[in-house]
Symmetry: C3
Subunit: 159 residues, 3 copies
Amino acid sequence: MSERKKTTIILFSGDYDKAMAAYIIANGAAAYDHDVTIFHTFWGLNALRKEEKVPVKKSFMEKMFGKMMPRGADRMGLSKMNFAGVGPKMIKDIIKKHNAVPLPQLIEMAKEQDVKLVACTMTMDLLGLQEKELLDGIEYAGVAAYLADAENGNVNLFI
Amino acid sequence: MSERKKTTIILFSGDYDKAMAAYIIANGAAAYDHDVTIFHTFWGLNALRKEEKVPVKKSFMEKMFGKMMPRGADRMGLSKMNFAGVGPKMIKDIIKKHNAVPLPQLIEMAKEQDVKLVACTMTMDLLGLQEKELLDGIEYAGVAAYLADAENGNVNLFI
Amino acid sequence: MSERKKTTIILFSGDYDKAMAAYIIANGAAAYDHDVTIFHTFWGLNALRKEEKVPVKKSFMEKMFGKMMPRGADRMGLSKMNFAGVGPKMIKDIIKKHNAVPLPQLIEMAKEQDVKLVACTMTMDLLGLQEKELLDGIEYAGVAAYLADAENGNVNLFI
C-alpha cells in the first residue's frame, strides 16, 4: 500500500478567488508529495473551459448556459467584491504587482505537478458542456471515482 | 469496531445546487456502503422544511425569517445564475430532460438508503424553526453529535 | 505520538454566518480536546481585523481594499439575506435574545481554549493587510503550515 498522503478537492465554485484557493492548496500538496485530485463539478467546471469558442452542437438551453458561464479560468468572477467585473481586474493587477501566480498559470502548474484534474461527467451533462470544450489532458469521471479517491484521503475539501 | 467507511457532510448552504451536490455525494457514499450523515445547519435547514405551511407559534422576528426563507428543497435558489428564480427553473427543466434526479427525490433516496439526516438544534432555535415544520424521520442534535460522527470519518465536507 | 484528535478549518469566507459556523465547530472541537487550528485566508482574514483603524502605509489599491473590506468580525455581512446590512443586525438581535454567543465573543472563546488562529501571509499580502491591523496573539503562516496540520487531521473543513 502506498505511503503517500492524499489530497482530494471538490471544486464546486465558479469563483476566481475560490478556484485560486483550491489550486494553491493543490499545488502545495503536490509539492509535499501528496497524490492530489481536483474534482470539478457544477460551476467549477468553468475553470477547465478552453478560452476560445469551440463549435459544438447544443440544444437551445445548453447554448444559453454556455453563453452565460465564463469561458475559462481567466474570465471567472470573484465571490466577494466582484463589482460587475472590476474586482477580478483589481485582484489580477495585485497578483501581477506582487509576483503572485494568476489562476490560469496555477492550473498549468498543477498539470505539470501531475495533479489529477477531473471533470464531473454528470454535471457536464446538466450544464451542456462537452469534452472538446474543456482543456486537454484532464480526466472524466463521476461521484464513484471521487469517493474512491476521497475515502482514503488525508485532506478532503469541498470548495 | 466497525469497518464501514464514514461520510459526514455539513450542509450549511441553502442553495439548490449546493444541496444537490451534498445529496449526490451522500447517496453515492451510501451506495458504497458508507455510514452517511448530513448535518443541516443555518440555511441548509431549509432543505428539510415541509412544503406546506405548518401553524406554529412564533415571535415577530421568527415569523419574518420563516417567511423569507424557502419552504423546502423545491423552493431553494441557485448559488450562481439564480436570475430572480429563473435559474432554478432552468436547472429543473434540464434535470428532467436529462432524466437526472431533482433535489426532493434525492432527499427521499437518501432516507431510503438510511442516510442520517440531522437538523442542528442550535441554528433551528436562532432561525425560529420548530420540529413540526421539518420533515418526518430526521434527527435533532448539536455540534457535539456532529463532532462524534466526523472525528472518525473518512470523508468530511462542509458544503 | 499524540493521541489527541485534530480539527483544522480553513476560513475563506468573510460572511458573519459562515465565520460563526467555523468558530462554533472550532470551540466545540476544542471542548472535546481536539487540537484545533483555524487558518484564515482571503476574506476570512477580515474576522481577524482590529475594529479600530490602524495607521499603516499602503498603496492606493491596498487602501481601497482596506476600506471596502469590513474591519473585524462584528462588521461582517451575511451569506444569505444580508439586505444591505439589515440581516446581520437581525441575526445579532436574535443571538442576543436567545443568549447565544455573537462572533466576536466566539473568537475570544476560541483564543481562551487555545484554538490556534492563523492568518495566511500570502493572501494578507494580496489584500494589503498588515500584522498590526490584525488581532494580537495570532500566528502567521502559509499553505505549507496548513498542510502540515491538515494532513494528520481528523476533521478538515473549508468554510
